[in-house]
């Protein structure tokens, strides 16, 4: 396996290091690889975006980091996960549960279904504090109300005792953020946190996430389909395709000077403010099914620049295309790809 040549960083500024992560899921035809040799590191205070089409392995990567993939149907086949120097792969379920909350917290896409309908939102925030910080009922309630206030829920004391169905989608996502924020984690993983929300609410939630990150200096992994959102919030971006990272670069560099044809395609498909988007460009074809990844470059069936050398053998290695830029394209040196300007 190849790995990202890590951007030079001292241990003190790196919160998470993922190396050669391989995750498999059980299908009818046996174990199939869905995340294949993913490596990256996350700096303190950094917001790292992960983009890619549906099924590329973004969620599986992040759920595996948090130890939340369902056992028995899925397994982490290989890889090391180091959180603040601690090897997560050596931990058992119980020890992992101590990590989740105070060190890694998650925000999910579906604000409608991610809160338990049978408990008050207040209790769902307060229980995190009782679990990890040993607070009493009274103390945890006071803190939960503060948190509700912090994430912009009006009337926090009254809202504390209400149930999720009494909240709008945006308000529920604020509650999810309050839950994630409760123990001021080192890393927040946000898996498409705004996809299900309408545009104005989406902007408010993004602003809230940015504020919180600035306040606490935490690291954020931000998964999304939406390059517009990426441009808004991320410092650095990883592009995933068929279980692999195919490109990684700081935000501006990636957008202005993409080094992989897949990223060029994503950028071309991005709806823009300054042009009429009636003729929506999109990458022809579909991403491959799990268990049926093409030989050679996994993107080759859809690539406009494909050459015979792309179509067989092992997947191309992830190569350095600049000091902080990596790509998994064999032809990146000869190609000049279009970015945004």
């Amino acid at each position: 396996m190849t790995r990202t040549l890590p951007v030079a960083r001292t241990a003190a500024t790196t919160t998470l290091e993922v190396e050669d992560l391989v995750v498999e899921v059980l299908t009818e035809d046996g174990w199939a690889t869905v995340v294949d040799g993913v490596s990256f590191s996350l700096g303190r205070g950094e917001t790292l975006g992960i983009v890619g089409e549906s099924g590329s392995g973004k969620s599986v990567t992040c759920l595996s980091i948090a130890g939340l993939m369902p056992p028995r149907q899925t397994r982490v086949r290989a890889g090391t996960l180091r959180l603040l120097g601690q090897d997560l792969t050596a931990l058992d379920q119980r020890q992992m549960s101590d990590i989740r909350g105070p060190k890694i917290a998650m925000i999910f896409q579906e604000p409608m279904s991610s809160l338990n309908p049978a408990f008050t939102v207040g209790d769902q925030i307060a229980e995190v504090l009782r679990r990890h910080e040993g607070l009493s009922r009274k103390e945890s309630k006071a803190r939960a109300i503060e948190l509700l206030d912090r994430v912009g829920v009006p009337n926090p004391a009254r809202r504390f005792g209400q149930y999720p169905f009494e909240f709008s989608g945006g308000m529920r996502q604020r509650v999810m953020i309050a839950i994630a924020l409760a123990c001021t984690p080192d890393i927040i993983i946000a898996d498409e946190p705004t996809t299900a929300l309408d545009v104005t609410v989406q902007a408010q939630i993004l602003e809230l996430l940015r504020e919180i990150q600035r306040e606490h200096g935490m690291s954020v992994i931000f998964i999304t389909h939406d390059l517009g959102v990426v441009a808004d919030v991320c410092d650095r971006v990883l592009v995933m395709y068929a279980g692999q990272i195919v490109e990684g670069a700081p935000l501006d560099e990636l957008f202005e000077d993409p080094q992989h044809p897949y990223m060029e395609g994503l950028l071309a498909a991005m709806p823009r403010m300054d042009q009429r988007t009636d003729a929506l460009v999109s990458i022809p074809g579909h991403p491959p099914q799990v268990g049926a990844f093409p030989a050679g470059c996994r993107f080759h069936p859809r690539c406009a620049y494909v050459r015979p050398q792309c179509t067989d053998g092992a997947a191309p290695p992830l190569e350095q295309a600049g000091p902080t830029h990596t790509t998994r394209c064999l032809r990146h040196l000869e190609l000049t790809l279009r970015g945004t300007t």
Binding site: A66, L68, Q93, R94, S97, D98, I99, R100, G101, P102, A105, M106, F108, E110, S113, S114, L115, N116, P117, A118, F119, T120, Q124, E127, V128, R131, H132, Y163, F165, M176, I179
Partner: protein, 314 residues
């Protein structure tokens, strides 16, 4: 909450009125003249007429109905045509027995069903789950009287641990009360446990796939908390429906098991009354059964309100 309760009780009134009509009316549809039946085959026409008059069977229907309802509300359910005992007394003797039996059976079924459902849902597809599923299929399929006979054979006749039949009131001897209750309660409880396990296992599996369970785990809650709190509160909703039906069925429908174990519960009273067309007793029992069903429904609704805040009145 109080308003909700009051409202719920008020809405049951039309149901109760309808039921009293039906209970009262059903009996009139039964072929055969109770006066003739009571008087016996050798009675003269005059004797039959006298009995009919004594029972009020010759008066207009609505008057009969009104009399019956008002005295029932005063606790007077009439007199048995055969034993000449007050119906209220017979039922009053049998009801606590049936309630003890039903309560014990329900307890046993929950003690079996809840852990079994949780384990087999969490270990879905493993041998534990298969054994539990097979067990509950058997429990549902096996007729309870047969199960009862097998238990008697094993625990009373062979091992001699427990009495085979009979019943001792709690006030008389609590230990004997318990030992007499165990086998019939176990017999009834197993059928209930099988049904509840199946229901609960299914709903736990459904709830485990919900996003909020993933959220609970993402918060770092321990497995026990995730399942015991977040999963169970949601997964219990269908179980409560099943339990409500089971209580109702246990109180009125434990006929065969009561017969097998000689437990003097409502079922026994019902059998005796039906075979002799003892109308006032039948009416009393049906009325009680309906009241029990109504109360159970009320309880089920209250528990629903607790489990699912969305249906709670505000």
């Amino acid at each position: 909450m109080l308003r909700f309760l009051l409202l719920r009780v008020l809405t049951t009134i039309p149901v109760l009125v309808l039921v009293t009509f039906v209970v009262f009316g059903l009996v009139l549809l039964i072929p055969g003249d109770p006066a003739v039946t009571i008087a016996g085959p050798d009675a003269t026409v005059e004797q039959v007429a006298a009995i009919r008059e004594r029972l009020g069977l010759d008066r207009p229907l609505l008057v009969q109905y009104w009399d019956w309802v008002t005295s029932a509300m005063a606790g007077d359910l009439g007199t048995s045509l055969y034993t000449s005992r007050a119906v209220a007394t017979s039922i009053g003797d049998a009801l606590p027995v049936s309630m003890a039996l039903a309560g014990a059976a329900l307890l046993i079924s929950l003690v079996i069903a809840v852990p079994m459902a949780i384990v087999s849902a969490l270990r879905r597809g493993t041998w534990v789950d298969r054994v539990a599923t097979l067990g509950s299929s058997l429990g549902i399929a096996l007729p309870s009287f047969w199960l009862g006979l097998v238990f008697v054979l094993i625990f009373s006749l062979t091992l001699g641990w427990l009495p085979a039949t009979g019943y001792v009131p709690f006030a008389q001897d609590p230990v004997a009360w318990l030992t007499h209750l165990v086998l019939p309660a176990l017999t009834l409880g197993i059928a209930g446990a099988a049904e509840s396990t199946r229901q609960l296992r299914g709903s736990i599996i459904g709830v485990l796939q919900q996003d909020y369970v993933r959220t609970a785990r993402a918060k770092g809650l321990r497995g026990r908390m995730v399942v015991g709190k977040h999963v169970m509160k949601n997964a219990s909703v269908p179980l409560v429906t099943v339990l409500g039906l089971q209580i109702t069925a246990l109180l009125g429908g434990a006929v065969l098991v009561e017969q097998v174990f000689g437990v003097p519960g409502l079922g026994q009273v019902a059998i005796a009354a039906v075979t002799t067309r003892d109308i006032p007793v039948i009416q009393g029992i049906v009325l009680i059964a309906v009241l029990v069903a109504v109360v159970c429904n009320l309880l089920v609704d209250l528990v629903y309100g607790y489990l699912n805040p969305k249906v709670r009145p505000r």
